[in-house]
């Protein structure tokens, strides 16, 4: 798989990262190596292998429907980069 500028830009956008030209060249080369490494796995015949969805054997980790209570609002808001007395404040986003 060829890593193009467009692919890097797209991934950067999805990950909310920003690269200048020099960084883009570097990450392009790193990505190319990583993908080539992983591509070796494609050579293994997995047609008879079930996909491994989870790493452990644990199943059914349920909790009962009980309200445990919440942290108080002041605690919740104290680490927010920006807040008023009631709300977290974020840059204006367009109405969904």
């Amino acid at each position: 798989m060829e890593v193009t500028d467009q692919l890097v830009n797209n991934l950067a956008n999805l990950a909310r990262l920003r690269f200048d030209d020099a960084e883009r060249t570097a990450i392009k080369s790193d990505l190319q190596k990583m993908i080539a490494f992983v591509e070796q796995l494609q050579q293994v015949n997995t047609s008879q292998t079930a996909p491994l969805m989870h790493m452990g054997d644990a199943i059914n980790a349920y909790r009962q429907d009980i309200v445990k209570g919440s942290m108080d609002k002041t605690t919740a808001l104290q680490n927010a980069p920006l807040a008023n007395n009631d709300y977290f404040k974020v840059p204006k986003v367009i109405k969904k």
Binding site: M53, H54, Q64, S70, D86, V90, V93, K96
Partner: protein, 484 residues
């Protein structure tokens, strides 16, 4: 002027229903609506590093209950996936959803429209978590976010593109809302957003098999608005095509002030959510035994009850459908017929005097002050011929409602409202009427048999409604005919 008849609309609905759990989907914050902002949040809701979410079992139970009611196949092996995207109302940077294995697959919801009954085919019902609430107009320069709703459990109920006009969509969502409320899966409150609907609408020439370009309409916060938005959208799209234009794939919003829709955004660059199985949440396996226990705990469904009322209890289509229209009325009716087996009479009482009382007071059948047992004693009294319906439904019912007394026979006795089936007393009233109206009697005897009603009315009047009608008719007929 567009030729609307050439086209067929194709509509699919996505309904998000908030599950009626106490706590959130993956942690113990309260899921209740309406709390002060940011007071139902914990480390898990806020996605602090090192926290571990855990599935609320009740959410799975409620989703299965709804799936069984909609005739879905229940998926045995379930897991949650992360849907990755950045939006400030989503603290984790991903939404946890059942992307690949919806817990309920296929199924249908029966609807009834003017053109008859049919099933709307479902694609799936899956569990996911809700996002927080963004408030855009509280602050001039910032968007304010309340995370109380973040992580509240939802099911998304997705139909196939299987509806073809706004009436079908209206009937479907009405039926679905009735069902989730009946099953205690969701409170169905569209204004508070516990039931939300998005509509996917496209048009095509009749006979065409391929689907047209679709538009998604959001912000449909009432069932009426779902209908209005779809009607508007179908007309808008046909007008575009008929005037030579091209429909573009868009997300549109409904404006309830003008009953129109407006474009929110054109289709952005294809979304790339990079779904993958959430490693923090192990798979959950639903067993046959669990499904059976959920099924066995479910009440009979409104449609099944309606059928039973019609076929086994002999109720009319209208009566059966009004009784099964809401849970409160069903519960009350079922309680009455446990006390007495006069099915039709019970329906008449419920849809007559009880309903008009409830309508007057603006209450549901659940808040009707007389217990089912008390009403049943009243029904029994009338069916036994001890009291006429008109006296019972006006004076006796009134007296019971006012005094709170529950034994109809005792109240009727006290108030002297019992019908007289003592032959001597009725014979005396009958004689009195016949003696008082010699002209009418003569006319009757000449063949004007319709006058029997008049005589009956007179007996009723002088007996103050206490003469048993059957015996009165019998005695009147005998007396009128004997001197013939």
């Amino acid at each position: 002027m567009s030729n609307y008849d050439k086209y067929e609309a194709v509509i699919g609905l996505e309904v998000h229903a908030q599950l009626l759990t106490q706590s959130k989907l993956f942690c113990g914050d309260s899921a209740a609506f309406g709390a002060a902002p940011n007071t139902h949040i914990s480390e898990i809701t806020l996605a602090y590093p090192g926290t571990l979410p855990k599935l609320n079992k009740e959410a799975a139970t409620l989703a299965i209950r709804l799936g069984l009611a909609c005739n879905c196949r229940i998926e045995r092996k379930n897991y949650f996936a992360r849907k990755n995207y950045f939006y400030p109302d989503l603290p984790k940077g991903y939404q946890v959803s059942q992307h690949t294995t919806p817990i309920c697959v296929g199924g249908h919801v029966g609807i009834q429209t003017a053109t008859g009954e049919r099933n709307i085919i479902l694609n799936r019902i899956h569990i996911e978590e809700d996002a927080g609430k963004s408030i855009h107009d509280a602050d001039e320069n910032y968007t304010c976010v309340d995370y109380n709703r973040a992580g509240v459990p939802l099911v998304e109920i997705v139909t196939e593109p299987d509806m073809h006009n706004a009436d079908e969509a209206y009937a479907y969502i009405t039926e679905l809302r009735k069902l989730v409320r009946y099953l205690d899966v969701c409170d169905g409150n569209m204004e508070e957003g516990s039931l939300r609907c998005d509509a996917n609408v496209s048009i095509r020439l009749k006979g065409e098999k391929n689907l047209g370009i679709k538009v998604e309409v959001k912000n449909l916060n009432s069932i009426r608005n779902v209908k209005k938005a779809i009607e508007y959208e179908i007309k808008r799209m046909i007008d575009i095509v008929e005037s030579g234009g091209t429909i573009i794939q868009q997300t549109r919003s409904f404006d309830a002030a003008t009953d129109t829709t407006f474009a929110m955004r054109d289709k952005e660059e294809a979304n790339d959510y990079r779904y993958f199985a959430d490693p923090d949440l192990p798979p959950f396996i639903i067993t046959e035994a669990e499904i059976n226990s959920i099924r066995n705990a479910m009440p009979a469904l409104p449609n099944a009850l309606k059928e039973k009322y019609k076929t086994q209890y002999g109720l009319t289509e209208y009566d059966a459908s009004v009784i099964t229209d809401d849970k409160e009325t069903i519960t009350y009716y079922e309680a009455i017929i446990k006390e007495c087996n006069h099915y039709k009479a019970a329906a008449n009482w419920l849809l007559g005097p009880v309903k008009s009382y409830c309508n007057d007071k603006g209450i549901t059948a659940a808040a009707f002050p007389l217990s089912a047992k008390a009403l049943a004693s009243l029904i029994q009294l009338v069916e036994d011929g001890q009291c006429s319906f008109s006296v019972a439904s006006s004076r006796l019912l009134q007296a019971m409602l006012e005094t709170g007394k529950t034994d109809a026979l005792a109240v009727a006795t006290t108030l002297n409202l019992l019908q007289n089936s003592d032959g001597d007393a009725i014979a005396a009233w009958v004689d009195e009427v016949i003696n008082n109206m010699p002209d009418k009697v003569a006319e009757y005897r000449k063949g004007k048999k319709g006058l029997i009603g008049l005589f009956m009315g007179e007996v009723k009047k002088i007996s103050k409604g206490k003469a048993d009608p059957k015996m009165t008719t019998q005695l009147l007929t005998e007396k009128l005919n004997e001197k013939n």
